[in-house]
Symmetry: C3
């Protein structure tokens, strides 16, 4: 299942069921766990002196699409799915079930929580902290330098369950509270409290997201989205969400 044109370092650890596509390159100190599929023209485990260690672990059942580059020095959980032409730099702590869309750039020294989904062309600046079950839509940009150029890197913090819509620009050091929703095209210059919808330039909290309804089904509350959108999440997580929703409903 390793294509004959792939260049796999003899000291790389390739578990059973792994597929490696044509012309891909696997450097030393890379551990690809079982059943992971690596497309063509990928380069995994690129060494860099900036990496805190020279290891790269990619969890089982991952799919890494063609032309992607992942540096040494990161640990990536099971079930990673990348698009094409993705770049992940060193010291990235990426939990289970994460999705990185095509051309997404994770610039390193950052963390991404479980089941967080980054759509295409998302740019995650260094020192960013992204929680679990977060959605970042196309061309979201997380910046980190408050007075460029400088040596001060203040990565944004995006808390659990946040939804950041397309083309949003997030300023350095900004915290977006859990379950907040940022409207497309907004510029987030200051902290956004949890559970708020924020829109505009600069983005300002407009309302509680829990009053929003689906446009094509006004009887359905839009947020928290986990009460209506569960495709692709593990059964036990969906079960927990359901129980939580029922408990919240009863307590009202």
């Amino acid at each position: 299942m390793i294509h004959p044109t792939a260049l796999v370092c003899s000291s790389a650890k390739i578990d059973e069921g792994v597929e490696i596509g044509p012309y891909s390159i696997i450097h030393k100190h890379v551990w690809i766990r079982k059943n992971t599929k690596v497309g063509a023209y990928c380069e995994l485990g690129l060494p860099t002196p900036l990496a805190h260690n020279n290891q790269l672990e990619i969890g089982e059942n991952s799919v890494i699409r063609s032309h992607s580059v992942i540096y040494a020095g990161s640990k990536i959980g099971a079930g990673l799915h990348t698009g094409h032409h993705v770049c992940v730099r060193e010291n990235s702590d990426i939990a289970e079930g994460v999705q990185l869309g095509s051309r997404t750039d994770v610039q390193g020294d950052c963390s991404i929580g479980e089941y967080t989904k980054l759509h295409a062309d998302v740019h995650v600046g260094k020192q960013s902290t992204i929680g679990s079950f977060v959605w970042l839509f196309p061309e979201v940009l997380l910046t980190n330098d408050p007075m460029p150029p400088s040596e001060t890197l203040l990565g944004p913090v995006i808390e659990d369950y946040c939804v950041v819509a397309s083309k949003v620009l997030v300023f350095p050091g900004v915290r977006i509270g859990n379950n907040a929703v940022i409207g497309a095209g907004s510029v987030v210059k200051s902290h956004i409290p949890e559970w708020k919808l924020a829109i505009g330039n600069p983005a300002k909290p407009a309302c509680d997201v829990r009053i929003l309804r689906l446009p094509d089904n006004p009887r359905q509350k839009a947020y928290p989205w986990r009460n209506r959108f569960t495709r692709g999440y593990p059964k036990e997580i969906v079960q927990a969400w359901t129980e939580q929703a029922q408990a919240t409903g009863k307590s009202k």
Copy 2:
């Protein structure tokens, strides 16, 4: 004309005069029509269960530049020109003479009309409908989810002869009428009538595009652009435009 390092499936149909560059991969069920040139590191015909069929047809006289990826399940007309690092997903119906700039991402389940030109870094969300003779400039983003994340995909509709300038964000389900022009950096949140110039966030119709003049030649009306810009279009189309312009002039 097939480079010896290219991996071409024996069941792919490669017409005469086709060139395939070094290290490129052609999967099965791909039909590359005559005189098309495929650069290096391209992967054409990637299978996916999301494709309505497992075919990929690429029309004659096309140029596909290096590092591009085109999935199975699409039909692409003659004279396609792509830049580098392009990605076209399944079920894309792409007419003759289309241009897709570098890093353009056509996410699938969409249609692009004839002689439409997408510049670099254009992102076409699923379910988008783009007419003929349209211009989408760099970093135009067509979104499709009205209440993200959801299962409702409402692709925008961009009608014939529209010009959408750089860094424009188009909201889900929005229709931009034929011959409309959207100013650079605008955010299009609602329908734009035909023949209107619209600018701003949110984009609002400012005037009829037919009153605009070229800045460096104020005697020349800027729009419809086809009366002053014809480079790269087939002779018979340009001829039809000329006759149409004359007829319009006389009828006034």
Copy 3:
């Protein structure tokens, strides 16, 4: 140091100490000067009829990261550093010490001065003129067509020491004066005088940049940045900056 899978034209000139990674392609008339490192899947010297000449010279001690494409017809000084998936078109005059972040697109017929740094996803339209010691941050877009589509290309001019923050859109033909700073997310529609901070859509001069202080150290003036940020610049340049700062201080 040339990987056995690299395809290097016998007429290319490869100086001593050069490394060429797996599967890379070096066309004829390319001159790679000493100690330059080319990553995997790069294609250097792509011919095009648009090039004023069919040469490509890449200066010594450069680093060109994987999946990058550089056309024939450009001259690039020593110490070029690119990210991954970069594209540089023909007739680009790139001075010493330039940095081009991942996916940066230099569309050709342009000039970039010494030690200018383009971060990831910067898009430099044709006919752009970028000075020396300039910083362009992620997703900066320099446009060039004042009435699209047209044959009139008016590239912006970005003068020395400018800082253009993330996601800024620069309109065709706009001049940004030396030492100006453009705030993130701005849209620059008209000329910005030297030494001004400009923000907004449209970007308007807000104040002289020399009154700004570092947020985490208010006793330190933020600009000119060269008085506080010198990492990565040659010793003699830093020395000149220091002397200049002292002279300016005394003259006050």
